[in-house]
Amino acid sequence: MKKFHVTTTVNGDAVEYLCDPRETLLDCLRDKLNLTGAKEGCGTGDCGACSVTVDGRLVCSCLMLGVEAEGKQIETVEGIADGDILHPLQKKMIEYAALQCGICTPGILVAAKSLLEKNPNPTEEETRYWLAGNLCRCTGYDKIIRAVMDTAAEMREAS
């Protein structure tokens, strides 16, 4: 099987890897770049645990091939905090105890960050629809939604 050499940018760093064309971007992030924040929940685009952004667009990394990442700008949950300083969303998720098992949390953080970049003042309904592709089986979503809404309010005040 011919392997493809891919050069791409992840969280601002130039990276390269060799991949089989059947491997997904999620496989490449986790197994070749050791970025294990993105999780494989379903592998079929239903659960959102593998959410990343590609050229600023929120996608499931399980629904994209590793070879397709050539020349793209990819952002993962590993790039959300600034060193040891947590992103406001991460702080609020902790404050609101908006996670239990934590498997969905990286995807929720990436998706919520993407929402707030696009819309700094979302309604609760907009937030719920935006995050509808991120399944959480622990929290019942309420704490997640409240954490995101409160983060949005705080970030609006700060800016």
């Binding site: 079929t44 499931c60 399980c62 629904l63 994209m64 091939l65 993407s114 995050l131 592709g133």
Partner: protein
Amino acid sequence: MDYHSPASFAEASALAANATGITRFLAGGTDVLVQLRSELVTPDTLIDIKKINGVRDITRNADGSWTLGIAATGAEMSEHPELGRDWPGVVEAMDLIGSTQVQGRATPTGNLCNGSPAADSVPAMVAAGVTVTVTGRDGTREVAVEDIPTGPGKTSLAKGELISAVNIPARGENGGDAYLRFIPRTEMDIAVVGVGVNLRLDGDTITEARVSLGAVAPTVLLVEDCAKAIIGSTLDDASMEALAAAASAACNPIDDKRGTIAFRTEVAGVLAKRAAKIAYARAKGEDA
């Protein structure tokens, strides 16, 4: 699996024509990768058509018609400042598919080529009179969207052929379109019934109409009897009842866990009336 990313549709067509085994074209990949992952379809040849110039473009042409690149996504269609004003039904239908993440990748061309009878964007495109440009070994041809699917998972595209553009007609004056679907949830589900309606008015009277049904037959249907039921009317109660009856009569659905034959047949009529009302209001320039 061989992976190719050709620079032109002619090259993509030649690759597919000369390939052996199973060939798939990759645009958004929201069906192709799921099928690959679930081992339903493992292509021998995968042709990524996103590196062809202009495939993400959404262009309004000089005559008011629109050309969508085959890799323009649902999210890009929804974010476009003008497309949804001309064709709100087409944009809303595409926007109903999947999550935010899926919208970032999924394309109407892929939705069409996947051949699902329940594809949400397809009845809306059929109602709107959308055509696709098909590139093959002998050049290109223009095909109506309703002539692409031939059965669940099957299309009329021959070996070596692929869709290279989506052509949406000019909206023109006094026209409106709408798409509605029934699902048992509020979001992220597959249509049990879908209805697209597109019409044009002269004053209060409907002069042109196209009505399309999804998920009630092996392919998306263009139902002429539905159009006949409302053309010449002001969408009064009698024509609405005739529309509903024609929609129900056109149904040839399956019975499955998501909806019985009786349910789908009944709901097709109900949704046809509701979608026609929205399209009519839009044609009048009202918010709907």
